[in-house]
């Protein structure tokens, strides 16, 4: 099923707009083999296991979930860095699931990626001028003699000093390196930028600078973001809609504010209650849903609802035997749970100011 939310009344109803990215039934399995010469297939890691998702032009869709929930794999499938095992991916109305060679390379102009680790994603032996200019040299969108000027313009745009064109990545701090990554991703004026944990490795004050930068650029270039992070507060801050993933599936999707006030899936509730809040009174108001144990292995996911072994509300045998599907709750909200949470189950939000 599709998930559609229209939070901004000044725009056409979402149903009439065409999604920029349309994902249907995408699965990605990584085979596990044993033996060296005669490789025997003994199982699969179900990294992404049946995901439908629409991303509309100009919006930011956030993906949250714990390590190993498949959020990065899904992003890489969308980017066509991995081939989907099943399902289709449409980009701008075109089926790109099986694009190859030149076609695929042309597509990459329209979708770019920003990575988590600004230390590992930049080649230490290249100057940042040549790192940011690399997309121009690969795609020939700018004549050679104009590359330097273009690169310096990009550097200025993301808040780097253009005079540092000839410096190497080690001469920059973490936040500045992330700016280099942003500049590189912007070089080809893409439509979609996939941000894979872009601020997780940064200090909070620098993190805020990068988040503001990403929002400014979105406005200026009408970018669409798929924003991945494990920090719900960050994802909620940047995203129009937030999808919560657990063991390869989207278990809940809604606008950030809806998710914060009225999470329906107990896993969303648990994520929400685990986020540290820099306000002791507010923190004291929230009800804790502590999850026991770790995420189960995606090689052999639990039957029925995948969350049932850790779920505080699981009722047997239904949750163990029947898989829940995404069902609508509040406007624009869908959740896959047989026994969804009550409204305001985690945080008692009142409109009154917190007491001091």
């Amino acid at each position: 099923m599709s998930v559609q939310v229209n939070e901004r009344p000044d725009e056409a109803p979402v149903e009439e707009r065409r999604p920029l990215v349309r994902i249907r039934g995408v699965r990605k399995l990584f085979p596990i083999t044993r033996g060296i010469i005669f490789q025997k297939h003994i199982g699969d890691v179900h990294a992404v296991d049946g995901v439908d998702l629409d991303i509309y032009p100009g919006e930011t869709v956030g993906l949250v979930g714990e390590t190993g929930c498949g959020k990065s794999t899904l992003a890489r499938v969308v980017m066509r860095l991995y081939d989907a095992t099943e399902g289709t991916i449409e980009f701008d109305g075109r089926d790109i699931t099986d694009l190859k060679g030149r076609e695929l390379r042309l597509l990459r102009r329209d979708m770019q990626m920003i990575f988590q680790d600004p230390f590992a994603s930049l080649n230490p032996r290249k100057t940042i001028g040549s790192i940011i200019g690399e997309p121009f040299r690969l795609h020939h969108t700018v004549p050679r003699n104009r590359i330097k000027a273009e690169v310096q313009q990009l550097m200025e745009l993301v808040g780097l000093n253009p005079e540092h064109y000839n410096r190497y990545p080690h001469e920059f701090s973490g936040g500045q390196r992330q700016r280099i990554g942003v500049a590189r991703s912007l070089a080809l004026r893409p439509k979609l930028i996939v941000c894979d944990e872009p601020v997780s490795a940064l200090d909070v004050s620098i993190q805020a600078q990068i988040l503001n930068l990403l929002e400014d650029l979105q406005e200026e270039f009408n970018l669409t973001y798929l924003f991945i992070a494990h920090d719900l507060a960050v994802v909620k801050h940047v995203s129009d809609r937030v999808a919560v993933m657990y063991l390869g599936k989207i278990v809940e999707m809604a606008a950030g504010a809806t998710l914060y006030r009225n999470p329906k899936h107990p896993y969303t509730g648990a994520l929400l209650s685990a986020v540290p809040i820099a306000d002791p009174d507010l923190a004291a108001q929230k009800k804790r849903i502590i999850l026991e144990g770790d995420v189960p292995s995606p090689i052999d996911p639990p039957s029925g609802c995948r969350f049932h072994p850790r779920c505080p509300n699981a009722q047997f045998p239904k949750c163990r035997d029947e898989e829940p599907f995404l069902e609508p709750h509040h406007p624009g909200q869908v959740a896959a749970c047989h026994f969804p949470l009550e409204d305001r189950a985690v945080i008692e939000t009142t409109d009154a100011e917190p007491v001091h």
């Binding site: 600078q209 503001n212 920090d231 648990a270 209650s273 540290p276 820099a278 502590i290 945080i347």
Partner: protein, 338 residues
């Protein structure tokens, strides 16, 4: 007031390098009472880790120029000979680190590593040490501890490894546990489990705890006192409520305004990050080290180093602004977002 467990007086840790003297810690003083939880907050390079590595005796006079006093249970740790320091470290003060993968030895079984720590400090047989190790693993919430003790670190998940590190750190019943970014590498759900565990064990073992972090959110729920560090100095210190509902230093305001609020109604609300980057610790700006990034700086800030002065009770800040201005600006810039 009872004698504090730990009292640090004017501690300075300077590293001589080819580029100049790195003033990682530059004159910090604080006390920590028994049973208290102290949060130390600051960005990378603010000196928060170096201060406590020095308390642990892991930064020695061979590596750095260390001045000041670190009085722990009435003893100045900086004057202790190395072999006596070894008896304090691990047994009375222990530390857990950010990355539980690199702080456990990959070649040895987890139980063996914990038993080794016990046998270093206590005269017990191998079997007794192992029994204690298994018991510790059980107390930190590791299921099937007797089987888990025979596994290697790579067989543990990130959260489990951090639990094993905590088990090792607490196995000698220390009086002070220093947790250096204990949850930064972990998922939020696991982070909540680990912080709750530290809280619970603190009660059980009656220890004092120091939590070092860059995230003001982490310490909001778990610390009694908080000190904020910037460029090797403590710029603000106070009780939890002082900091969250009445911070006095512009750097603390910046940190509080940088965190995306979970409760915000609209997406895309603008954050107010601190402009610029943390300074080099070799060429620390004159006057208040924060003045180049401070939106409220005036002439005096550029020349005169502000002292850490108490405003009321335990709440102290190192800033030249008048107290009324601090209270007003805090209300206008930080509280207004809530």
């Amino acid at each position: 007031m009872a004698e504090p467990l730990l009292e640090v007086r004017d501690l300075r840790v300077h590293f001589p390098t080819d580029d100049g003297l790195v003033k990682a810690v530059d004159g910090i003083s604080f006390t920590l009472a028994a049973g208290e939880t102290l949060g130390v907050v600051g960005e990378s390079g603010s000196g928060k880790s170096v201060s406590f590595l020095t308390v642990m005796g892991l930064i020695t006079k061979n590596q750095a120029r260390i001045q000041g006093e670190i009085v722990f249970q009435g003893q100045d740790l900086l004057k202790l000979p190395p072999e006596e320091m070894r008896n304090v470290r691990g047994a009375k003060i222990s530390m857990i680190f950010q990355d539980p993968m690199t702080s456990l030895h990959p070649y040895y079984k987890v139980g063996t590593q914990i038993a080794e720590a016990i046998r270093t400090h206590q005269k017990v047989s191998k079997r007794e040490a192992r029994e204690q190790a298994v018991e510790m693993l059980r107390r930190v919430g590791i299921p099937r501890p007797d089987e888990r003790a025979d596994q290697y670190p790579h067989e543990f998940s990130g959260g489990m490894r951090q639990r094993a590190m905590i088990a090792m750190a607490l196995s000698l019943n220390p009086d002070l546990l220093i947790a250096d970014e204990p949850t930064t590498a972990l998922d939020v759900t696991v982070q909540a489990q680990i912080l709750d565990l530290i809280d619970r064990l603190k009660q059980e073992f009656n220890a004092s705890v120091v939590i070092i972090t860059h995230d003001l959110g982490v310490v909001a729920e778990h610390c009694d006192h908080i000190q904020v560090m910037y460029a090797g100095k403590i710029v603000e210190a106070g009780g939890r409520r002082d900091i969250y509902y009445g911070a006095h230093h512009p750097y603390t305001w910046g940190l509080l305004s940088s965190i995306p609020r979970l409760a915000e109604e609209e997406a895309h609300e603008r954050l107010n990050p601190i402009r610029g980057l943390p300074p080099s610790l070799i060429f620390v700006p004159p006057g208040c080290a924060f003045h180049p990034r401070c939106p409220h700086a005036f002439d005096r800030c550029r020349t005169e180093v502000p002292a850490l002065l108490p405003a009321n009770g335990h709440h102290a800040s190192a800033c030249h602004l008048a107290l009324e201005d601090k209270e007003r600006i805090f209300q206008e810039t930080v509280m207004v977002r809530r």
